[in-house]
């Protein structure tokens, strides 16, 4: 994932104000020792995670440079049935890029006549497993253990959403999703 963000963004500004207010509250209420204790504990976590973050950034950039989007698109278009859902899930997990590239690719699948279940599985897999986001953002914040077990649980869900979507579309949208 390329993090194409301005040096200043409002989300970070709001979070910063909130965090500073919380830090000041801790200092005034609990004193210096508690303030320093929280700081040292979290700085330790942060330093621990820095090398993984650096690796995550490099993986995000290099996979975007090396995996062509067209290849991922061909992968999904080629299969149907349950295999199609599994392939779409795999493609969503390795799909490089952010929301500005992923949704148009899924839209293109549908325009090219791909199965609705596969398109849903692809988008769901990207949101839950897209490794770039998981590595670059989730790992430093949530820690290795949390991300590992969340990712172990997640691969079933794109398949479930795909199957459910296929079934609902057949029942409620007999003329297709574009009508």
């Amino acid at each position: 994932m390329r993090i194409r963000r301005k040096t200043f963004d409002w989300s970070t500004a709001v979070i910063t104000v909130l965090m500073v207010a919380a830090a000041v509250t801790v200092y005034l209420r609990d004193g210096w020792d508690r303030f320093a204790g929280v700081f040292l504990g979290d700085v330790h976590i942060f330093l621990d995670i820095l090398p993984k973050m650096a690796a995550g950034c490099l993986i995000g950039v290099f996979s975007t440079l090396l995996i062509p989007r067209e290849m991922v698109a061909r992968l999904v278009g080629a299969e149907s049935g349950f295999t199609g859902l599994a392939v779409a899930t795999f493609a969503g997990a390795i799909m490089p890029g952010g929301p500005m590239t992923v949704y148009p690719v899924a839209g293109a699948f549908l325009a090219a006549g791909a199965d609705i279940g596969a398109a849903l599985a692809f988008v769901t897999s990207w949101t839950l497993l897209g490794y770039a986001r998981a590595l670059v953002w989730e790992l430093p914040f949530m820690g290795t253990n949390f991300v590992f077990w969340r990712v172990v649980i997640a691969p079933a869900f794109p398949l479930i959403v795909g199957l459910l979507g296929r079934w609902v579309a057949k029942a409620l949208m007999p003329h297709g999703v574009r009508s």
Partner: protein
């Protein structure tokens, strides 16, 4: 131990990717390293603010409130609260993950926090409104959102079932 193994695995992947790029051209390696370094520099202050600051937010929040709402015994209601909160969290990953880690530090249970981050990933209003609706037929977006509603609950249930993280 696992953290160390995953760190090694990540750098192993980096090595394979860089080697693959090197086979194609030296300038590809240079571009990748430069952009990767820039991303890292842009990311570092945000993660520093989020990770260090969330400790203070957790210290300020009364543990009995979050522990009651989202704690280990909050069950289905706690999962539902986490899911709704995740779907309506505005802003980017800094906001979502800062809230998640602060909740985790101040008494929320892991399955509920997994429901929160899963719901945020699936539904984050801002991303759906500004990217998804623009690029896909509205019917498909509705279908995806409706079919995804059970997922945060299943994710929390899965985490409870295996007893991790």
């Amino acid at each position: 131990m696992m953290a160390l193994a995953i760190g090694a695995l990540l750098w192993g992947i980096v090595a394979v990717l860089v080697a693959t790029a090197a086979v194609r051209s030296a300038s590809l390696v240079e571009t990748g390293l430069r952009e990767g370094a820039l991303d890292f520099l842009r990311l570092t202050p945000r993660v520093a603010i989020g990770v260090v600051g969330s400790g203070y937010v957790a210290a300020v929040l009364p543990p009995e409130v979050l522990g009651g709402l989202l704690g280990p015994s909050s069950g289905l209601l706690g999962t539902a609260i986490a899911t709704v909160a995740g779907a309506f969290t505005p802003g980017g990953p800094v906001v979502g993950f800062s809230i998640a880690v602060a909740a985790l530090k101040s008494g929320a249970a892991a399955p509920q926090v997994i429901a929160y981050t899963t719901a945020w990933a699936l539904f984050a209003i801002q991303r759906v409104a500004s990217y998804e609706v623009v690029a896909m037929p509205a019917k498909v977006v509705w279908l995806r959102v409706v079919c995804s509603i059970p997922v945060p609950f299943l994710a929390a249930f899965g985490a409870m079932l295996i007893g991790k993280p």
